[in-house]
């Protein structure tokens, strides 16, 4: 039985009086690939942002790699070191070169010597197939390239878990594939991944489990064949009929 990477136990969260996450219970095993989908505003992003405490939950427990997420700043920083995140809008640091984007955290958080960090960054930039852009600034890259840099930047911290928050939603259509390919490679190497996305092809190809969320709740959760072949909840069926044309 593989160890648990992320565990949600009865988690509830509110934005003001708006109940954004309702009774979330979820166990993610190590090495498991999970795709989360659902209509906008259903709480998908909030769910994965709770894992590295970019959002605070008010009720229930979240345990990441054996560490409980609460007000303890040290514990949160420890979790963040081991959890990589890729954002919809890349959030690369525009004032730093691609290489500096990748080495910033290894140097300042892991206290790695600069030379070593550079070598590590180049290794991951090669993995996402853009080593030649290392000395450019993010603004000089295309959206797809920027998102691949963002993935390399996260990987430079050698995370145990990767979170993807709609990584292809802000991309021009012709650039979606290069980012998805990078993610597929990552998945094939056994990374634990939680991916919020509407790319159902990716879900079929890579996911161990697909989760459908609506109005802050996990409505349905299943292996991809069963999820797409035989959705059981009415809301899941409606959602799938809308996005799979």
């Amino acid at each position: 039985m593989p160890q648990t990477a992320v565990q949600f136990i009865g988690v509830n969260k509110w934005f003001g009086s708006f109940h954004v996450l309702r009774d979330i219970n979820l166990d993610v095993a190590q090495g498991e690939r999970i795709v989360i989908c659902g209509p906008s505003g259903s709480g998908k992003s909030t769910l994965i942002r709770c894992i590295n405490r970019l959002e605070q939950h008010q009720e229930g427990r979240i345990i990441v790699d054996g560490i409980e997420i609460n007000d303890d700043v040290k514990a949160i920083e420890e979790v963040r070191r081991d959890v990589g995140m890729v954002f919809q809008h890349f959030n690369l640091f525009p004032h730093l070169t691609v290489l500096e984007n990748c080495t910033l955290a290894p140097i300042w958080v892991r206290k790695m010597p600069k030379r070593e960090a550079d070598a590590l960054a180049m290794k991951f930039l090669e993995r996402v197939r853009i080593p030649e852009q290392a000395h450019k600034y993010p603004g000089q890259l295309s959206g797809g390239q920027q998102q691949r840099v963002a993935i390399a930047r996260a990987l430079c911290m050698t995370p145990k878990i990767m979170l993807f928050d709609e990584p292809t939603s802000a991309l021009d259509p012709e650039m979606v594939k290069e980012v998805l390919d990078t993610m597929v490679t990552l998945a094939s190497e056994g990374m634990t991944m939680l991916v919020v996305t509407h790319e159902m092809g990716f879900a079929r190809q890579v996911a161990d489990r697909v989760i459908f969320m609506d109005q802050g709740q996990i409505v349905e959760m299943n292996a991809p064949e069963a999820f797409f072949g035989n959705p059981r909840n009415e809301r899941t069926r409606l959602f799938l009929s809308q996005i799979l044309r």
Partner: protein
């Protein structure tokens, strides 16, 4: 008509039609694009030409260039009285600094310039050491040179400092203190700790709500009343502190604008990588915020440079103050003496402020070329 179309040959790439590109095109588009604009162009050209000619005529053609006293300048139809400037200029630069010791401010100025020039040139390396020298070592050297007291240098009271020396001392220390203080205040204003936030807001609003003249009067007249007996702070020092605190409040607001313009995702990305809040601020948010604020920060520098003239109200004779004082000299009483003095003052202040402004523009362009989105 068919709806299908297939291009078989590419349309040729051609240069633009004559008269729409190049110098002629620029003129036509920008100065003579319509009858109204053409009239405006001609009218303004006439006004500018007239003003330019008047200044040239007054300063150069009718200007008096040689002489030893008012007799040379007090003639009919005389322009600028330059001999007055030649005679007074050393005093305008050094104030009442002892003549035998004037090499000291000159040395201090030269060392400063020698350290500042490489600092301002992007291509020159070792910025960290350069900055350390300028901000830590240099002030000590400069103060020692100016004030004396050690190494056999005779002591020179700040009351005998004056002229451009004082203007530069006040402006530079003001700039050097107000920027870091302003950054701290701006960060304090955004702090999650209510006490720090309220204190920063109170400080900023207090100084922004008081005219600078009041601040200077307070610093020079009221402050000594609150200090214990026997403790006295140098008057120049008090004026500098007042001006720095005043400028730092404005600086804080300029930096805050920059901080707010940095997208929230930047902080999130930093935190998600495991950086601490302070590291995220220092390495990610602040560098971007400062770049955004450069125009406003330099605006405040320029304002501060010009505001140094207000130290006159607490009888410190800065550049403008000492020019003004020199005009009372009956030896040079002539119709154009005052105009000449103020003309030089305006020119000198303009040169300093314009240089700052251009350098800021240069920096902005350079940072933009670095591929800022």
């Amino acid at each position: 008509m068919s709806i299908a179309y297939v291009r078989e040959r590419d349309a040729p790439l051609r240069p633009p039609p004559a008269g729409t590109a190049g110098a002629l095109g620029w003129l036509r588009e920008n100065l003579f694009s319509s009858l109204g604009n053409s009239l405006l162009t001609v009218l303004l050209a006439l006004v500018i030409g007239y003003l330019g000619w008047s200044v040239l005529d007054w300063a150069v053609l009718r200007g008096v260039w040689t002489g030893v006293d008012r007799a040379a300048c007090a003639i009919d139809n005389a322009g600028a009285c330059w001999p007055f400037v030649w005679e007074k200029f050393p005093q305008w630069i050094f104030g009442f600094y002892p003549i035998a010791e004037r090499w000291r401010p000159v040395t201090a100025f030269l060392i400063g310039a020698a350290a500042l020039v490489p600092m301002l040139m992007p291509g020159v390396g070792a910025k960290k050491w350069n900055a350390l020298f300028l901000l830590v070592v240099y002030p000590v050297i400069a103060f020692e040179l100016l004030a004396g007291g050690l190494f056999g240098l005779s002591e020179v009271e700040t009351t005998s400092w004056g002229g451009l020396t004082v203007t530069l001392v006040v402006a530079i220390t003001g700039i050097v203190f107000s920027l870091p203080l302003g950054i701290l205040l701006a960060l304090g204003r955004q702090s999650e700790l209510p006490i720090i936030r309220s204190a920063s807001i109170a400080f900023i609003e207090l100084w922004r709500g008081v005219p600078l003249v009041t601040v200077l009067f307070m610093a020079s007249v009221m402050l000594p009343l609150f200090l214990p007996n026997g403790v006295s702070l140098d008057k120049l020092m008090r004026a500098i502190v007042g001006l720095s605190l005043f400028a730092s409040a404005y600086m804080a607001e300029a930096v805050r604008g920059g901080l707010q313009a940095v997208a929230k995702g930047q902080t999130e990305a930093g935190l998600a990588l495991g950086l601490s809040r302070w590291q995220t601020t220092r390495k990610i948010v602040l560098p971007q915020a400062l770049r955004i604020s450069i125009p406003n920060i330099v605006g405040i520098f320029i304002g501060l440079f010009k505001d140094t003239t207000l130290v006159l109200v607490v009888s410190i004779y800065d550049f403008l103050g000492i020019i003004n004082a020199g005009l009372q000299d009956s030896k040079w009483a002539a119709p154009q003496t005052a105009n000449t003095g103020y003309f030089v003052a305006a020119l000198v202040y303009f040169i300093f402020c314009f240089a700052m402004s251009r350098y800021a523009l240069f920096t902005e362009r350079r940072l933009e070329q670095m591929g800022r989105r």
